[in-house]
Symmetry: D2
Subunit: 347 residues, 4 copies
């Protein structure tokens, strides 16, 4: 930590700051300039808040120097994390993966058809919500356990992997037998109890950035899961809230290369939530991969106009097919390939 | 709902939109202008998404006309909601209440002293966290059940009411015997399962605005609690996230008069989280009441420099005392009074 | 400046950073921790960009320690700046001033009536736009020079002072004979050539915060005017752009006490642009003064429903009268008074 | 315009709204639902503000239906605008252009070397600032007219076109002999007098989005230039201000496909200002073109570490070369090509 004192700080104030730093466990190096004294705190006490120093008497500014996350930092695993799935698929390596499917599981027919379309388009994961966190209590709230079973069934028929959103601790056990990857939604990015619990699970997790979360906060949330021992973690940019209202959110594409630099974890992009309008999904999917994404999470529905939720941002199946074709041509430009299509196993 | 078609929309496109509106349960009134057709959907189907229409062919714009919340709207209870507490204190009437205390319960001595200081300053509620949602896994995480007991004890000694944050469903039962009011923090404003559960509880709830939540979203979250049957609900502005970094958040004081207009629920202000720096808390507390707040929620600590969390934004006890004195003089300017100090009951 | 090197920075990288610091004119103090080296640059070269260091090899973080503004800082004039007007009125002292009037000067009758109403309500300044920067080229663009003359005439009849917006350098000369105070609008807060020119003028300036400007940027813009020699400068918070759309902008009331702390310049609030809706103006005006504002700038129109611009946020005359009455009662709570009403001089 | 009345609006209130709509020139169609009355105003009066209606008694909501810009709308020129330069280069067609160069012209050697490097890398335009709008009065402010001459000279030696920023009306005449394209910076996007003047010029203009400007506001600003008769206009996304501080701004890549849909004007991306850090520029440049950009504007400096401004976001020459190579491979994926390198004419 660095504490820069005000020009007119008294010796007493400086002493008080030094004492508090020492008390917390810092080694303090003092630099006395002509007008200003600067205190460098070396070492990293388990437990301190930089804001505490910002309001001490005589302090001009106080900065944290060491990053507040450790396990999530690039330096912890410079070669990068590769998350391996039961079928051998690896996320975080050379291959870029495609996860697609409807916002919600609505019926056996709908999810089955979705799975076939995702597989045919060349995706590797089937996504679909069984428990739906909706902003209005009057909206469709999901099929629950039945939805999970239908997801698994549809995925197994096509060879896809299953990713679905977990909203609370009590759902973890319930989901384990049916899914290949937990998805933590933007609203739960700082549901720390849930994160801690997912740190104890032996199944991959995809953690989405909250709509008001800084990149540093995403990494602090990742730290919760990693510190529990679960290293099969992927991050996902899905749009932040800004003043622009034409799009549902503003997808922060730059977060993708920034995260790739700051952390060893794979980073995906979710253009569906990022923009909220179907026609903008393909260009933003291409942009995500061009910027270095390790995968894409997208909404597709066999009949978006009749979807019970998020229809406006769901791709038509033929849009997904065309998009994946383009992605296959784009990936090599950034020294990547799109993961091969999962061939249907028992067909 | 209103759907404005594009100037060059075809008859087929217009027909398609009309059919979809009818299918959802709208009565459709069509206005055909020289260049543009406008479709007004009258009636309020239980279940529709305006975004669905925004991406239909030929549509220029689609707007929801009816508000998506019902029970939370001012019209539902034009006279305003008054939340009554066991000791007869009413929030939402003429009196403005003061809730204060430390961020976290740290020890019996600390919370006891805090309670005495809050009571002496003229507050009515003791606040204090027992379960702490912290952005870093390496920060202090709260005393849990023990903290609840200490809170209750300290409050009872002084005649204060207890408000504390509930973070998940499993804590509700645990807290019920010890508290007078549940507080839902900004990060849980859209934890809909938690909100639904709190709708079934017979104890007041204070719901904080999320840092990226629009005013409409606050009211939709309120709707979850109200629709469960719990009308003892208060809202709280505590700062939103903006580009300004000098303050921890940007406290949206205007949200107070806006909410007072849109809803019948009492509205409080939390200047501590709103600005994050102690010295800014008194001016923002005064501003909140000047703008119409029904109460204030503030952090105060007997020794802020030694606080285990949020010390930088915690008032010194003497600051709280001075502030409440000013508030007593300010309230009458806006036709209110600060609620009387709670006299110590069994002393 | 502080440069914190990465844990794995090489000696060569550290040397390179030190050399560059020395080259710019810093004295460099090096702190070598167990894992991390920290370089403190003491002294303030006229000319450096902290971002340059952030991208040098081996650098973890780089911070500016000295504030980038000098003349605007509180320390430059701890007692605070008082701007004195020809009629003896002082802004920045104990008195809080009220500036009001229509968005645009529309006609002699309109501005004359406005002036009488502002004076009767107890205001000290007449505001009104003669040159209007409008976001659409099809909107009313102002009366120009004729508007200036009408403003002056109306003000002189009532004893009010005149404040109006200057949009470009060429208007300065034109305005000088007719006005008492230049207003720099939010869109011109970073029109540095205009600011520099206003630094050479011997007339007070009110500088509004841009809708995307940080508090530090406001002070840097102030520095442009101050460094030209014009110290009769006032700042004004008028709302920043956020994700909330219910209000036109989000008025950052906390910027008022923050600016009062960081700078010696008087700080006003403009609730009309801050919220954009008439009914929200009185609560936000009260909140501004409660938070420490030295004055208010507000839109009032004799007939807001017929205003050529900004009618929705213009107060009715009777609203202004009632508001000033409340302000007179509120000011003493924060140890201030509202400036006395200007009595009509030649009536 | 659509005006939705409140459920409990009185007949008198409804009549008042209708009268005001008629007064402004609307044809009013009334839809009377069971609980709510909706008024559709057909026709487009030259002059009205939707906010005026939002605050009328009994009004629940009021929306503008017709878009406030006309000439900028896609419908005005569905085939798209192509801006042709003296050397035959076309922006807005199949070819994607590359504009690069230093933030500021610093010396003959520097700009000459820059031009050679841009040409060698395969760019078509040389960028460089002669008049610099800097947020601090103590920073380098540009070489002025001398800088313009050096720019022209360097460009002519290499066959590049010149683009430079115009900051005020008085600079237009000065610049005309030396440049091929005016650039309007983010801070001047709403300098309406400047825009109006540029509408009368017969030279292409590149208009950058302001850091707090919505997409609609960009198009309204474009309308100012178009309505003056200058159709050689290009738009440019360069990042908006959000809460994220790791990057200088948040580059809104989605604005590129959105603008391509809403307007016929070419749309470029400026990743240098968008992110502010050199290493992020290549991924964001690739993302821009993947998302449909018609060109890129980027900072490159022969020696970024010694740049007088914006060094941190300036590419090294070899980075530009590598990036253009990648762009050449990426463009065909989205059915485009990078414009051919300008061969050096008198070499």
């Amino acid at each position: 930590m660095i504490v820069a004192m005000q020009d007119n700080a008294t010796d007493e104030q400086i002493q008080h700051v030094i004492e508090r730093m020492v008390e917390l466990g810092f080694n303090v190096h003092r630099t006395t300039g002509e007008t200003q004294t600067i205190l460098a705190g070396v070492g990293t006490p388990a437990h301190f808040e930089v804001t505490e120093f910002q309001v001490l008497g005589g302090v001009a500014q106080a900065y944290r120097i060491s990053s507040p996350y450790k396990l999530a930092g690039r330096g912890f695993r410079p070669e990068g994390t590769r998350v391996t799935f039961p079928n051998g698929l690896v996320v975080g390596g050379e291959e870029v993966v495609v996860m697609a499917g409807p916002c919600s599981v609505e019926s056996r027919e709908q999810i089955r058809l979705s799975a076939q379309q995702v597989a045919a388009a060349g995706g590797q994961f089937l996504r679909g919500g069984a428990f739906k966190p909706r902003s209005s209590p009057y909206s469709f709230q999901g099929m629950g356990l039945e939805g999970l079973k239908l997801l698994r069934e549809a995925a197994d028929e096509t060879g896809l992997l299953v990713i679905t959103e977990v909203m609370e601790i009590s759902q973890i056990e319930l989901m384990l037998p049916y899914i290949d990857c937990f998805q933590v939604g933007a609203r739960n990015m700082q549901n720390f109890n849930l994160l801690r619990e997912l740190g104890h699970v032996r199944k991959p997790v995809l953690l989405k950035r909250g709509i008001a979360a800084t990149i540093e906060e995403v990494l602090l949330s990742a730290e919760y899961i990693l510190s529990g021992g679960n290293y099969d973690l992927m991050l996902c940019e899905r749009g932040i809230r800004t003043f622009e209202t034409y799009t549902r959110n503003t997808m922060d594409i730059s977060a993708i290369p920034v995260l790739k630099k700051l952390t060893h974890l794979p980073v995906l992009g979710d253009p569906s939530h990022g923009v909220g309008k179907r026609d903008l999904v393909p260009p933003m999917a291409l942009a995500s991969v061009a910027a270095g994404a390790d995968g894409l999470l997208m909404e597709m529905h066999p009949n978006p106009d009749k979807a019970l939720s998020d229809g406006a941002q769901s791709l038509f199946p033929e849009q997904l097919t065309k998009l994946v074709e383009r992605l296959r041509r784009l990936a090599p430009v950034v020294d990547r390939v799109i993961a091969p299509a999962v061939s249907k196993i028992h067909a």
